[in-house]
Amino acid sequence: MAEAVQPPRTADEVLDWLEQGRLSPAEAFAIFRSLDQDRRAPSHLRVAVRESPREQDPEEARRQRLQQALADLDALIGLESVKELVREVQAFVEIQQRRSKARLATEPMALHMIFKGNPGTGKTTVARIFGRMFEAMGVLPKGHLVECERADLVGEYIGHTAQKTREQIRQALGGILFIDEAYSLARGGEKDFGKEAIDTLVKAMEDKKDQLVLILAGYRREMELFLQTNPGLRSRFPIQIDFPDYKTAELIQIADLMLKQREYRLTEGARRRLHDMLEQRLRSGDPHLGNARMVRNIIERAIRRQAVRLVRRPQISRNDLMLITEADIEEVSVAR
């Protein structure tokens, strides 16, 4: 009876085949690996894959995840220059992968990045999208994001720092390690343990380069200074992305989107009030002001103010429940 030969489907079968001389040890390890990967999928998916292997083509699923990540990127308000760069990186990775398939020389894929920009300009959000993108493209096994800052990396006594830093690196393996206010690692001069953290990170970037993408983020000017004082770093971070401050119109769009998701709406007066307030804050030049996080605070505050305003009323219409008026915004303008 002629029967199509199926590769072994359980570990025990692999071992039997090995004993029978139907597999070499190298082949056996390769099958073990694919079995392990199957096992890692959530159980409900695994059963589905077993029953109808064609329905969930992993290639197709990956393409969909990539498309979804890029769609989420496009949905972000503003950030045009950032989006362009993300697409550039995506195209670069894809072409390098195609070249490698065609057995052409490839550029080494160093994907470590520097994000420069004020707080609340979308750095973490974009980092998350990068993680999903790299996972979908097969550059990183997991694509998750581990966020940390100086306190998570730098220890209190000699030897403690390397240990803490390595722990963060371990957690980030397979994904992205995102270090906020990275320049603070260089403050405190030569004797500061921050230097040790930088050294440990640089080592991990080399040793684990296929499993880890490092993103250093922080204020533009401080990051520039940080790179100047650590000249070795610049070349290790080929991708540098500038996150510009949002324009007032973009901030209002962001506010609209946030409110829409929560099923609220701004009245015309509220919108004007918000606009004036944002303009005024942008002019003040304080980098903490005039970003998406501030807008979110204003909106959340306004939602609470609206609740207080409405709760005393005897009669509340559906429309009232949705509208954020000038008065709600006004109250926020005094609060930070």
Binding site: P25, A26, R40
Partner: protein
């Protein structure tokens, strides 16, 4: 009980490493459990010197079964016990002798269940004859298989021999992304690093 398994191609020095490492950790009499591919077990107690004389050799396939030794590492105020398991050498391709194949299957089963994998490669051979001669498909497959685990290190053995430095460099390039520890099983070099690595995972 955590199991630390030592694998590698034939004649890379697995058995010598296991015995020397046991001695390095302070064991003077080794209680060695031999587990045949069929499942029979027997235990022998040997001194380190006796064990090296009896168990390790220049000939390939000296080790045809799993040989495990229980070891202790100081952890905090107490000790942690773990088994270090010596295995039959991995071969390329399919071996003609069913006994070797059975030993191979036993090794792979043990690798699958291991908590910690130490993968020995021959750095001297890599330096002398090129990395492609010294490591084979099976080594790459092991490395890829183990990539999904944290507790995996490549030990570049025989650094006492000439040309081994070149070999270690080549191995580092070839297996970048993995933990690589240069050692000499014969002279117990690099054992401190190995101990630290083992300590982290048991």
């Amino acid at each position: 009980m955590k199991r630390c398994i030592v694998i590698g191609k034939t004649n890379v020095g697995k058995t010598l490493f296991v015995l020397q490492f046991a001695a390095y950790l302070g064991a003077d009499r080794l209680e060695i459990t031999f587990e045949e591919p069929g499942g029979e077990k027997r235990t022998e107690t040997l001194s380190v010197d006796q064990a090296i004389r009896q168990l390790s050799s220049q000939e390939p396939h000296q080790t045809r079964c799993l040989q495990s030794i229980r070891l202790e590492l100081p952890v905090g105020k107490g000790v942690k016990r773990f088994d270090v398991v010596d295995t039959s050498g991995l071969i390329e391709g399919i071996h003609g002798d069913v006994k070797v194949r059975k030993a191979m299957a036993q090794t792979l089963a043990a690798v699958r269940d291991a908590d910690l994998i130490l993968h020995l490669v021959d750095a001297a051979k890599a330096g002398e004859r090129g990395v492609l001669q010294a490591v084979g498909d099976v080594d790459y497959q092991v490395a890829q298989f183990a990539q999904m685990r944290d507790a995996y290190a490549i030990l570049a053995n025989k650094v006492d021999l000439p040309n081994a430095d070149v070999g270690v460099e080549k191995i580092r390039q070839e297996f970048s992304g993995h933990v690589i520890i240069p050692i000499s099983a014969l002279h117990r070099r690099g054992f401190k690093e190995v101990k630290r690595f083992v300590w982290r995972w048991i």
